[in-house]
């Protein structure tokens, strides 16, 4: 009964072996030059430590969210296309009509977000008047983990616990 799952077991073993050997191999063979930014924990490019109430551009998230939705819906077209090609002629019109309905639903959503301006980045839009001027006050800049591109100096433990910053003079040098 379970013999049908044998390929899955083979796949599981293969995946474990390949992925495991990559991790273990790079651990033993790879050169190790740690730096402060390299050893920071990685969280989608954001600075992992600090106030969670920072201002950050939300546009990217909106676009990414919409992209995911349409991406998944588009992926549905591929299995349909394969089935459509191999199907007998008498049902082709029916299949086509069904996909037409699906794409129609997709397009309603697309034109809605287009009309709503969710895909506009900046162009053609006047900035909205801001009621509270205090949000223009200087505030700590938003840092991303990869902003600093100057020479990297490893903090030595003896220097009173603070990271060495003397050599760093890049624009992103703020901590």
């Amino acid at each position: 009964m379970l013999s049908g799952y044998l390929p899955m077991l083979v796949m599981l073993v293969l995946a474990t072996v390949i992925a495991g050997s990559m991790v273990i191999g790079s651990f033993f063979l790879g050169p190790k030059k740690p730096s402060r930014f390299k050893s920071e924990s990685y969280e989608c490019g954001m600075t992992p430590v600090g106030s969670a109430r920072e201002r950050f551009p939300i546009k990217f998230y909106l676009i990414a969210m919409l992209f995911i939705i349409f991406d998944i819906e588009t992926i549905f077209l591929y299995p349909w296309a394969v089935t459509f090609r191999d199907s007998v002629k008498s049902v082709k019109m029916f299949y086509l009509a069904e996909m037409g309905v699906f794409v129609l639903i997709l397009f309603v959503g697309y034109f809605y977000i287009l009309g709503k301006g969710a895909l506009d980045w900046d162009e053609g839009r006047e900035p909205e008047p801001v009621a509270d001027p205090s949000i223009f006050k200087p505030r700590p800049p938003i840092r991303f983990g990869n902003e600093y591109s100057g020479p990297i100096q490893i903090a030595s433990k003896s220097e009173s616990g603070t990271p060495a910053t003397s050599a760093a003079a890049g624009p992103g040098k703020r901590l």
Binding site: S90, V91, M93, F94, V108, F111, Y112, L114, G115, K116
Partner: protein, 496 residues
């Protein structure tokens, strides 16, 4: 190629839902293009027209006694689905009217509200006529997604946000329970089709296995979450309180109708193994009636009070579900199941009219700076706004089940079904808790009529027409169908 008549039949079965979807799309697209800067009143108007057209199609669908299905037996075309569909469309009309007033007065007038309302209505209708557990789940999710966003529609208010997140998280848990239950029931019966499940269960002999029992238990939990049954009710007061009042009204109506229509179907299909789940439903019904009414007594916020009252009403409806399996009483064939379904549907109608009417009065009184929801806001209302106060009094009496209102007729029908189905204990608890409920409903009336207001006059609301129309419709229905309950049966085609 599937047979042409099959396709046409399938499309006819979902024609009301298609109409709702098309209306939602037209509103969404029109609002960003054609009437982008124009008059926003076109959105609720279009929504109402869409619902009425859907209503027309739903009523015109040929009535088949039972057994007719569409989409490879996954949707049932039967009186239960059609009548709960009518109840849902009535809910939608009332809540669109309420939203029209409320959103305008609170400065939330966005077309998305109506789009979400219509789309979630589609899900609720699908749920009400689902003949397959997967379709039922799909409908439930479509219904819930709309409601999650509508609960947080006043997105600058913390309470509204909290309501939305709370509802979303707990609703997701509820859905997960339901899905797990469906999976286990499928494992035990090799089918997700409700007819097929019923056939399998009645042909198999012996006690149900642990997998089926666990599956039924999880189904009860999942559906209990959506229908707000104690002890799965914790989200209800917070969400009802935090959501914009118009959204609360819609949520109270649509979610309850969808959940109970689904329950009637699921437990109807599980009748052959009733011995395993009936005690659980009986206990849940008693606990829900007692705690729903007890907790409502201490509430000082009318929205919370109505939330607990809706929990108590869910308890009464559970009594009808407990009467479902009484197909024979003392060896004689009994009509208790039919009475239970009819009673539950009538009660759902009554619940919609009186609950939406009560929320409607709150909507009617709310303005931009003042969201009426505390009992103290209603002080001296009988002097300030006599019409609203009398309407509210009327809805409160109906919720309390005092004749000649619809609330009384609904309770009476469920009571009758319970007694016919030999659920004497439940009938007694129901009568006692209903008496208890009268206290907190009448307290609202007391505050309105006999206490003096201390507040300065609030700014006049901008628009009131929609709420006024909704209140009048609900009040008229409550009294007319309370005096002549057969009229509702004649209009919707339900009843024996």
């Amino acid at each position: 190629m599937p047979d042409k008549s099959v396709i046409i039949g399938d499309m006819q079965a979902i024609l009301p839902m298609i109409v709702l979807w098309v209306t939602a799309s037209v509103i969404a697209l029109g609002d960003v293009s054609l009437w982008k800067r124009g008059n926003k009143a076109i959105n609720p108007l279009l929504a109402i027209v869409g619902v009425l057209v859907a209503f027309k199609f739903l009523v015109n669908t040929p009535r088949v006694a039972s057994g007719a299905t569409a989409f490879a037996k996954s949707l049932a075309i039967d009186p239960l689905g059609q009548i709960s569909g009518i109840a849902l469309l009535v809910t939608a009309v009332l809540s669109i009217l309420l939203a029209w007033t409320y959103l305008k007065n609170r400065g939330l007038d966005h077309a998305e509200y109506y789009v979400l309302l219509l789309l979630s209505l589609t899900g609720a209708m699908m749920m009400a006529s689902a003949n397959d557990l997967i379709v039922l789940f799909l409908g439930l999710e479509i219904l819930s997604f709309g409601l999650y966003v509508m609960a947080g529609f006043a997105r600058t208010e913390e309470r509204s946000e909290e309501a939305s997140v709370k509802y979303f998280l707990l609703g997701a848990f509820g859905s997960a329970f339901l899905l797990y239950g469906i999976a286990l029931v499928y494992g035990a019966t090799q089918s997700t089709n409700l007819e097929q499940i019923r056939a399998t269960l009645s042909s198999s002999s012996g006690a149900p296995g642990p997998m089926l029992l666990a599956g039924i238990g999880l189904l009860i939990v999942g559906l209990g979450f959506k229908a707000a049954i104690v002890p799965f009710h914790q989200w209800t007061p917070d969400v009802y309180e935090g959501a914009p009042t118009a959204a609360t009204a819609y949520m109270a109506g649509a979610a309850k109708i969808g959940a109970f229509a689904a329950m009637l179907r699921v437990f109807g299909a599980l009748t052959p193994v009733a011995a395993s789940w009936l005690p659980a439903i009986q206990i849940l019904a008693i606990v829900t009636m007692v705690f729903g009414n007890l907790l409502a007594v201490t509430q000082t916020n009318v929205k919370r009070l109505l939330a607990y009252s809706s929990i108590a009403h869910a308890g009464y409806l559970l009594v009808a579900i407990a009467a479902l399996p009484s197909e024979t009483v003392n060896g004689i064939a009994s009509n208790a199941p039919d009475l239970a379904v009819g009673g539950a549907l009538f009660y759902l109608f009554a619940y919609v009219f009186m609950t939406l009417g009560a929320f409607g009065v709150l909507v009617y009184l709310s303005s931009k700076g003042r969201d009426v929801q505390h009992v103290n806001d209603l002080r001296g209302l009988a002097k300030r706004e006599p019409a609203a106060a009398y309407a509210m009094m009327f809805f409160m009496l109906s919720l309390g089940g005092i004749p000649p209102t619809m609330g009384f007729m609904g309770k009476w029908q469920i009571f009758y079904a319970a007694v016919t189905g030999q659920q004497i204990m439940l009938a007694i608890v129901m009568a006692l808790t209903s008496a208890m409920a009268v206290y907190y409903y009448l307290r609202v009336v007391w505050v309105m009529c006999f206490e003096e207001t201390t507040e300065a006059a609030a700014p006049e609301p901008v628009a009131r027409t929609g709420a006024m129309a909704a209140i009048m419709l609900a009040a008229a229905a409550t009294i007319v169908f309370g005096i002549a309950p057969n009229l509702l049966n004649a209009i919707t085609g339900m009843g024996p």
